[in-house]
């Protein structure tokens, strides 16, 4: 007996709702990550990301900006998904000559003012150390991760990461140039709602902790 239009519609709506619910379940896990130093003080500006033994990111990489202001890179650390295109606008009046020797993400942008260069697309995961060949003190990092679950801790040392709980064998990683600990990853599951990393080793001092450190001129 052929089903009527009403029944077709009812089934379609149900299927849709069900599908949406399954999808919602798949991305429902939010992992609260806290990074603390040996004195239990929160550590800001730590890159946090999740990798999976099977199954890569489901989100397409986007775009990001690494600015140059007052002969400093802003931000000091950028966390991006592999394949992200990063722009390097120069907001200073002086020219910059931005480069990275971090293979295989090495590149150089010919001397420039303003924003004349095409964005750089980072096709390999890893740490990209940036410098300026004119201003030797300029230093910044781009953390390229093969994941769409990533973030950076705030002043409270916390970050919330959206976890894909259909994927198996997820591993949580943290990275900061200040961290000296060897063990910087651990297995997590959708059930791990909150994870705290307490570092064993004292942190290196922050590169640029703000106004307390002078911006010395160089001739």
């Amino acid at each position: 007996m052929p089903i009527g239009l009403y029944e077709k519609l009812r089934r379609a709506i149900l299927a849709g709702l069900l599908g949406a619910q399954v999808l919602a379940c798949a991305f429902a896990g939010t992992l609260e990550v806290t990074v603390l130093d040996p004195a239990d003080e929160p550590v800001p500006d730590v890159a946090v990301y999740v990798s999976y033994a099977s199954g890569g990111p489901k989100t397409m990489p986007g775009t990001a900006v690494m600015d140059q202001k007052d002969t400093r890179f802003v931000p000091h650390m950028l966390v991006v998904q592999k394949g992200t295109s990063v722009e390097f606008p120069n907001s200073d009046v002086v020219a910059h000559h931005v480069y990275s020797f971090s293979k295989p993400n090495n590149f150089a942008l010919a001397l420039y003012k303003g924003d004349p260069h095409d964005p750089i697309t980072f096709q390999h995961d890893g740490i990209v150390t940036l410098g300026c060949n004119i201003h030797d003190h300029m230093l910044a990092y781009i953390v390229v991760v093969d994941s769409d679950a990533y973030g950076k801790t705030g002043k409270d040392g916390r970050v919330a990461i959206d976890l894909d709980d259909t994927a198996k064998d997820a591993t949580l990683h943290i990275w900061s140039p200040r961290i000296r600990d060897k063990k910087v990853s651990r297995a997590v599951s959708a059930a791990s709602q909150a994870v705290t990393f307490t570092l064993e080793k004292k942190l290196r001092p922050a590169h640029d902790p703000g106004e307390e450190v002078l911006q010395w001129s160089e001739y």
């Binding site: 480069y99 010919a110 001397l111 140039p177 640029d208 106004e211 307390e212 450190v213």
Partner: protein, 418 residues
């Protein structure tokens, strides 16, 4: 007044020339020009710039054009830079306008944590931690320390400097180690002014063809041991056709700490002389430190210890002029927005090993300098500064002056930059 008018004329010409160049330099060049105009009140001996032994730059109260300058950086390619700095002064110690530095620098893009640099031309040895703004000017105090005043007076390398530096990634790139090694010519008379005039505190830099007056020492007068000496020094002349060198080591921890240590030797033949100028064998060790103290207070300290000799070995390694010199200073500086306050203590001294008659060069002394700078706009700053130097120098008696003297200077300076 004539001097001021003449100075303003130089300034006008320089600004016009600078502005027209600035139109064309575009993206690949940075050009900074400027002028310092000072109202000076001074007490002490007649200045060395007027031919006597006063440690300050000006002998009389008045309004002076301290400097007009242009500092140009042009990028010939992405990695090759041409730099020159030109200074105009209203005094009679050289051309109205002349170069203080001119060099090419090659900075290849680093392929690893190692960085290499090559400089060729005429440039300052890597000593001063004070003179870090365009035109080798000092952002902390108008008048540089005794050490860096001497660097400005008599030191310039005409040669090549090779630099290597490394930021080990294992140390987060916060720490940097570097070596600068230079081979240079053309700085043979360096040491003459220091030995015969003594240490000074001022803001005048010598240009390439300047003739710096010596005090009227008995031994450089007709009939004296060094009667061939001109009444002035041309510090950058090549006399003996042999090269000198310096090696500088640096260690930097981000913006918190910088330590540099140099050994310098001009390797001049102290028996060589040529048309009125002698070669002086001049060597020194230098240590510099720059640190950020709690509360955002900056500390700069430098120390220099060396010797300079001139004339043949008279036996026992003693030369007719045989002088050992040393100086150190500590400077504290604090900035609040566009206001900056700085204070410096200088200590300097000189001893001699020779017993040449009427060539008595020992001195000892110290100085205090306190200054305030208000940066009103990018192009305009106001400075107030006071400095006091107390000196004891035996040679003052040759000029019927008291060996012990306190010289003081108060100044109000307008700094223009474009």
């Amino acid at each position: 007044m004539v001097r001021v008018l003449r100075s303003l004329l130089f300034l006008g010409a320089l600004v016009t020339a600078g502005a027209s160049v600035a139109q064309d330099v575009g993206e690949r060049a940075d050009l900074v020009g400027g002028a310092d105009i000072s109202l000076i009140a001074v007490s002490g001996y007649e200045s060395w710039t007027d031919g006597l032994v006063g440690k300050l730059r000006f002998s009389d109260d008045g309004v002076y054009l301290g400097r007009a300058f242009v500092d140009f950086d042009g990028r010939l390619t992405d990695t090759l830079k041409a730099s020159f700095a030109v200074e105009a002064y209203g005094d009679d110690l050289g051309n109205a306008v002349d170069l203080t530095e001119a060099f090419l620098e090659w900075r290849p893009v680093p392929r690893s944590a190692n960085r290499y640099r090559v400089k060729v031309g005429a440039f300052y040895p890597r000593i001063s931690l004070e003179n870090v703004e365009s035109g080798w000017t000092n952002p902390y105090l108008q008048n540089s320390s005794a050490i860096n005043t001497w660097v400005g007076e008599e030191l310039r390398a005409f040669g090549t400097e090779l630099s290597w530096s490394r930021k080990p990634p294992s140390l987060d790139g916060r720490q940097e180690f570097g070596i600068n090694a230079a081979v240079f010519w053309g700085n043979d008379p360096a040491g003459s002014l220091l030995a015969w005039k003594g240490w000074s505190i001022h803001d005048r830099q010598s240009r390439f063809s300047d003739k710096l007056p010596l005090p009227p020492l008995p031994q450089i007068q007709p009939g004296g041991v060094f009667e061939e000496q001109d009444p002035y020094v041309e510090p950058f002349r090549e006399i003996d056709d042999s090269a000198g060198y310096y090696v500088n080591l640096e260690w930097r921890i981000a913006n918190r700490l910088l330590i540099r240590a140099m050994t310098y030797n001009n390797e001049a033949d102290p028996t060589a002389h040529d048309s009125g100028q002698y070669a002086w064998y001049t060597e020194f060790e230098h240590i510099g430190l720059q640190a950020t103290l709690p509360g955002g207070v900056g500390l700069i300290a430098q120390w220099m210890d060396g010797s300079t000799v001139m004339g043949p070995n008279l036996g026992g390694g003693i030369h007719p002029v045989d002088v050992e010199y040393d100086s150190y200073f500590a400077l504290l500086t604090k900035q609040w927005g566009s206001h900056r306050v700085s204070a410096r203590y200088d200590n300097f001294g000189m001893t001699q090993n020779d017993s040449t008659r009427e060539d008595n060069n020992p001195e000892s002394g110290h100085g205090w300098t306190v200054g305030y700078r208000y940066q009103m706009t990018d192009g305009f700053a106001l400075r107030v500064e006071w400095l006091s130097i107390k000196t004891h120098r035996c040679a003052h008696v040759y000029y019927r002056l008291d060996p012990t003297v306190t010289e003081e200077q108060a100044q109000l300076t307008l700094q223009l930059r474009f």
